[in-house]
C-alpha cells in the first residue's frame, strides 16, 4: 500500500459492507495535512530557488525570493492535488495567494517602519536633537550638535493653526450633511469625497497662488497652515460624516418623539453619541496633515533656525526638513533626515493608536466619569419625577375632580381596552 493510498483510505474503514459511522469532517481550524503541505512546499521552494541560484545566478535577494515563492506555490498545488480534487486544489492555492498578498503588504509596512527607525536611531537618542536647530551646524558637525528643534516648533505651529481652522468648520459641515438629506447635501458630499483625494501639492499651489503671489504675504507658517487646512478639510468632513452616520436612527427618532427640535437632538443626542468617532476623525485628520511635506514645501519656505512667529518669516516642518536634508546627500544630514522622519513616524503612530483606542469604543461608549455623570443625572430626574408625582397627588385630593362622575378624563389607551 503506497503512502498515497494510505492517505486516501481512512484507516478504520472496514472492508465488509457494514455501514460506517459518519465521521464529522473538520472544516475549520488548522489541519495537520495542511500544515505539512505548506511546510513541505515552503522548504521545496526555498531549496529549489537556492539550487537555481547556484546554477543560473539570480538577481539578488529579490530574485531569490520571487523564484522561491513561485516554486512554493507550484509545489503546494501538486501536494494538495495528491489528496484533493480540483476545486479543493484551486481553493487551497487561492487561499495561499490571498494570504501571501497580506503577508507582502504587511512585510513592506514593517520594513518601512523598521528601516526608518533603525536609521533614525543614532540621531534620535541625543537630547540636542530636540532642543537645537541647524543654524550653526555644518554638514560635518557630529550628531551631538544641532538638531531638528526648529522643525518640531514649526510643525506644532502649523498643525495647531490648521486644527483651529479645520475642526470647527469641518465638524459643523459634517453636521450639515447629517441633518439634511436633501439633494444639495448629497451633491456636497460627492464634492467633498472627490476633494479628499485632491493631490496635496495642489493645496500648496493654491495658497501659493492666492496668499503669496496675489495677496502678497510672505512665506510663513500661517501660509503653510492654510495649505494644510485646505488639504485636511475634506478629509475631516468625510471622516466625521461617517462617524455621525453610525449613530442609530432610532436615537434621533427617540429625541424627536420626546419633543426636541432637531438641532437639540443633534447637539444633545447625536453628537455626544458619536463623540468617540468624531475624536477619531479629528486625530486621523491631524495625523494626515502632520506628515504632508508638499503643501508646506510651496508655502512655508525653509529655514535652519528656530522661528516661533508663524506670521513672519520662513518656517520648517518635520516632513519638510526630512525631505530637504536627504536631498542634500550628505551622510550626517541624511542621518538627521531619518531622525526627523522617525520622530514624525512615532508621532503619527502615537496619534493613530490614540485614535484607534478612542474609536474602538463605538458610539455611545462612556468613560468612568461620564457614566457617573449620567447616573447622577438620572438620579436627579428620578427625584424630580417623585416630587412632581407627590405634588400631583396632593393636587388631586385637594380640589373636587373636574370629571363628571369623579373618574379621571378618559385617555386614548383606556378606550383601546374597551374595544
Amino acid at each position: 500500500m503506497s503512502l498515497l493510498e494510505q492517505a486516501i483510505t481512512a484507516p478504520d474503514e472496514p472492508v465488509s459492507g457494514v455501514p460506517v459511522p459518519q465521521v464529522r469532517r473538520k472544516v475549520r481550524g488548522v489541519r495537520r495535512d495542511m500544515v505539512l503541505n505548506l511546510a513541505g512546499a515552503a522548504l521545496a521552494g526555498l531549496s529549489g530557488s537556492w539550487l537555481l541560484g547556484l546554477v543560473a545566478g539570480l538577481a539578488g535577494i529579490v530574485g531569490f525570493l520571487v523564484v522561491a515563492y513561485v516554486l512554493f506555490v507550484v509545489v503546494y498545488a501538486v501536494l494538495v492535488s495528491l489528496t484533493e480534487d480540483r476545486p479543493a486544489v484551486k481553493d487551497a492555492v487561492m487561499t495561499v495567494l490571498m494570504a501571501s498578498m497580506a503577508v507582502l503588504a504587511f512585510t513592506a509596512l514593517g520594513l518601512v517602519i523598521f528601516f526608518t527607525l533603525a536609521k533614525g536611531w543614532h540621531a534620535l537618542i541625543h537630547l540636542n536633537n530636540y532642543t537645537q536647530d541647524l543654524s550653526s551646524t555644518g554638514e560635518l558637525a557630529p550628531l551631538t550638535q544641532g538638531g531638528i528643534g526648529h522643525a518640531i516648533v514649526g510643525t506644532l505651529w502649523m498643525i495647531g493653526i490648521a486644527v483651529v481652522f479645520t475642526v470647527p468648520v469641518g465638524l459643523v459641515a459634517a453636521v450639515y450633511l447629517d441633518m439634511t438629506r436633501s439633494r444639495p447635501a448629497s451633491t456636497f458630499r460627492t464634492i467633498v469625497e472627490a476633494m479628499s483625494a485632491l493631490p496635496s501639492i495642489l493645496a500648496g499651489l493654491f495658497i501659493y497662488a492666492a496668499w503669496i503671489l496675489t495677496l502678497g504675504f510672505e512665506h510663513s507658517g500661517l501660509a503653510a497652515a492654510l495649505a494644510l487646512s485646505v488639504m485636511m478639510l475634506p478629509y475631516m468632513i468625510r471622516a466625521s460624516d461617517l462617524a455621525l452616520r453610525l449613530v442609530p436612527g432610532s436615537l434621533r427618532e427617540a429625541s424627536a418623539a420626546l419633543g426636541a427640535p432637531s438641532w437639540r437632538g443633534e447637539l444633545q443626542v447625536v453628537i455626544p453619541t458619536a463623540r468617540s468617532g468624531l475624536a477619531t476623525a479629528v486625530i486621523l485628520g491631524i495625523a494626515r496633515g502632520i506628515g504632508e511635506a508638499s503643501p508646506v514645501l510651496l508655502t512655508a519656505g525653509y529655514t535652519k533656525t528656530i522661528n516661533a512667529d508663524p506670521l513672519h518669516g520662513p518656517m520648517a516642518s518635520l516632513p519638510l526638513i526630512a525631505l530637504k536634508l536627504v536631498q542634500s546627500g550628505n551622510a550626517n544630514y541624511t542621518a538627521r533626515a531619518f531622525a526627523a522622519a522617525s520622530f514624525l513616524l512615532l508621532l503619527v503612530i502615537v496619534l493613530f493608536v490614540t485614535a484607534r483606542k478612542i474609536g474602538g469604543w463605538g458610539p455611545g461608549h462612556l468613560s468612568e466619569r461620564g457614566l457617573r455623570r449620567v447616573r447622577e443625572a438620572s438620579a436627579r430626574d428620578a427625584e424630580r419625577f417623585a416630587r412632581s408625582q407627590a405634588a400631583r397627588e396632593v393636587a388631586a385630593f385637594a380640589p373636587p375632580p373636574s370629571g363628571r362622575d369623579g373618574n379621571p378624563p378618559p385617555d386614548p389607551s383606556s378606550t383601546e381596552d374597551t374595544r
Partner: protein, 346 residues
Amino acid sequence: MTTVTPGFGPTVAHTTPEGSDQRPRRQLVDTKAPAEKAFLGLTRGSALVVLAVIALVGIFLTIKAVPALKVAKFSFLTTQAWQPDIHRFGIAGIMTGTILIAMVAVVIAVPVALGLALYITEVAPARIKRTLVSLVDLMAAVPSVVYGLWALLFLQGRVVGVSRWIATWFGWIPLFHVNGADPSNPVQSGTLYSASAFIVGIAVSLMVIPILCSVMRETFSQAPLGEREGAYALGATRWGMIRSVVLPFGKGGIIGGTMLGLGRALGETIVVILIISPVYNANLHILQSGGNSVSGLIANLYSESSTFGTSALMAAGLALFALTLTINFAASAVVARSRSGAESDA
C-alpha cells in the same frame, strides 16, 4: 363611545366625542423656531465655506494659468518640453510620466490590495481581523516622506537587479526596453536602471494599497449572507463562493477603489522628487532612468520660475486638478452605485 372601522388589517379605533362632528384634520405646518433656523443656517454656512474654498482652488489656478495658456494655446497639450521663458512648454511629456508612474503603482497595488482585502474579509480568523484592519489604516497614515526616504535608500538598490532582469528578458516589449542596456556586460552600472518610473511606482503603490484595500473591503463585507450560504450549500469551496458571490457583488468597489487609488497616485509628489531624475520629454521606458510628474515638476521648479514660468506651472497644476477631479468623481459615482441597494440608509 367607540366606532370601529371594519375592513382590512388591524382594526383602527376612532374616538368621536359625543355630539361633536369629526374634527377637521390638523394642518401640519413646519414652523421652525428661531434657534432651529439659526442652527441650520450655521451648518449650511459652514458647508458653503467649504464649497467656496474648493471652488477658489479651481478659480485661482485657472486665473493664474491664463497668461501661459494664452501663449501656448493647444500646443500646451502636445509639446514635450518645459522652457516657458522661450515659450516652448507643454505637458505632453510630463503628463505621460505622471500617468506611467500611476499605472505602475496601480498595476502593482490592485492584485495586492485585492488579495489583502479578500484575506481580511474572508479568510482571516475573526480575532485578528481588527488588528489587520488597523494595520492597513496605519499604512495609509504613514507620511509620504517616510515612504520616500525608504524608497530612496532601501528599495532602489534592491529593485535595480529586478529591473535589469526584466529589461534583459523582456526588453523586446517597448515598455520594458532600456536604451543602452547591455546584457552581455555583467558589470554594467545600475545607474541606467535607477531613478526610474518603475521604482517610483513601487513606492507609490505602497501608498495606494490601503486606499484600494479599504474600499474593496467595505464592498466585500456587504456581499449578502444569503447568497454566500447558498453557494456553500451548493457545495462551493471558499474560493468558489468568493468567485461566484463576493467578487461579483464587490465589482463596483474594485473598480471604484482602483480609480480612487489612481487619482491618489497621480498626485504623489515627495517620492517623485526624491527619486526620479527629471526629464521633460515623454520617456515611455518605465525601467529606464528619468521621468517626471506634474506634481514633481511643480515642486522642483516653483521657486526658480519667472512670473510667466509660474503661470505655466499653474497651467500644469490645473491640468492635474482637472484630471484627478474627473477620476475621483467617476470613482465615487461607481462606488456609490455599487453601494446603493446593498445596504439600507439607517
